[in-house]
Symmetry: C2
Subunit: 233 residues, 2 copies
């Protein structure tokens, strides 16, 4: 634990009223991974019932868009609306025993941002760049990702262009995220483990997968124009 009573890096970061996290890393990550797998499984099974119209790739894409959309809205959303997440005790109105589950969910939501801050303390510090990124992610990319699930399922003509737009937004966001971290000192993680696991590891999915989807959608769109050209010749 550093000089200012919190575990984050850099040690001189001031977090008035800091309260240590109550949940362990496993208690935070296991529900997240479990819920994500459940969502993906549900989307996979439901999309399989669409009378065989959807290819395996389309069904996998739907799983991804449901996962990333819900992550943006449900997991990242509370970060915006609980600016003092690192100082939250359980609030009083949760002390009724029958409200145990709501309290657990609340605790989980608070702990998620606190845990991720070990890999990037700019979240705990409410860095303006991070806040702006998260506002755009939660307000635009999250809902657009959920729309993409529907667009892929119903084979809308805007499906590829919507997917490409979200992917470019995610890649732009990641690029910005990494460049600002580099320019601002590159010392926002508790240890190399958190650097690799959270800062690099957790974010790399939002570099690799959007790149693959963007390339695929780009090719499909070009092919649609090529087909149009052949037709009009």
């Amino acid at each position: 634990m550093a000089g200012h009573g919190h575990p984050y890096s850099p040690a001189e970061l001031e977090l008035p009223g800091f309260v240590p996290q109550r949940l362990s890393q496993v208690e935070i990550l296991a529900p997240f991974l479990g819920a994500s797998l459940l969502v993906a499984l549900a989307v996979w099974l439901v999309s399989g019932r669409c009378g065989g119209r959807l290819s395996r790739t389309d069904r996998l894409l739907m799983c991804w868009w449901a996962f990333t959309g819900l992550t943006h809205v449900v997991l990242e959303g509370p970060f915006l609306f609980t600016p003092d997440f690192f100082s939250k005790e359980d609030p009083n109105y949760f002390d009724d025993l029958c409200k145990y589950h709501r309290r657990s969910l609340y605790r989980f939501i608070i702990s998620d941002s606190a845990e991720y801050s070990k890999g990037d303390s700019r979240y705990a510090a409410r860095n303006t760049g991070i806040l702006a990124l998260e506002m755009i992610t939660i307000g635009l990319k999250g809902p657009a990702s959920l729309l993409a699930v529907y667009a892929v399922a119903s084979r809308k003509s805007y499906s590829h262009i919507l997917q490409l737009a979200i992917c470019l937004g995610q890649l732009y966001g990641c690029l910005f995220y990494f460049i600002t971290a580099y320019l601002a000192g590159f010392n926002f993680w508790v240890s190399p483990f958190y650097f690799w696991a959270y800062f690099v590891g957790a974010n790399s999915s939002w570099v690799v997968i959007p790149t693959l989807i963007a390339v695929r959608s780009w090719k499909k769109i070009c092919a649609a124009f090529e087909a149009g050209k052949l037709k009009t010749r």
Copy 2:
């Protein structure tokens, strides 16, 4: 002139070694507007010689992409590579009289960032968010805009998707730019004139025009897929 010897806002911003600008506002803006008009005119005339294949809209788009691409690279580029632009005297190696034009160009390039900083002092302060934005703009959006001139002229199948991708990047950048300014205190301009003329006015072109182009390209791409669907029925 504020307490710290520079004209920028907020007054407490520290700019060690600040040297007042030598060029007036007119001496900075007139060459920029003049050169922009010349570029647009040249592209308009050259594109008109393409044997009538290109529509007026395509030719206007080419003018815009040439203007925005060159602005990103030529006007914004030097900002990245002259971190101390606000403290630059004319460097010694320009003191030969026959190097007058190089000196003028250099002075103009330095003054451009100094002048714009009156509308947003985060440029003079080398704010990390602004630096990251400019890196992405200069490194990716600038070259991609110049590629778009070629793509529109030669009616490439990737023309619309490329234009949409750049437009979304520009809109994402503007959104980020305005949100971070709001979160960081919204006090980066010398006076209301500079707020409206530079911060709002100069940037609004990169909100309005990319929105129009993005909507147009989005519709064209959807139409290409609709045409494909009709064909396969």
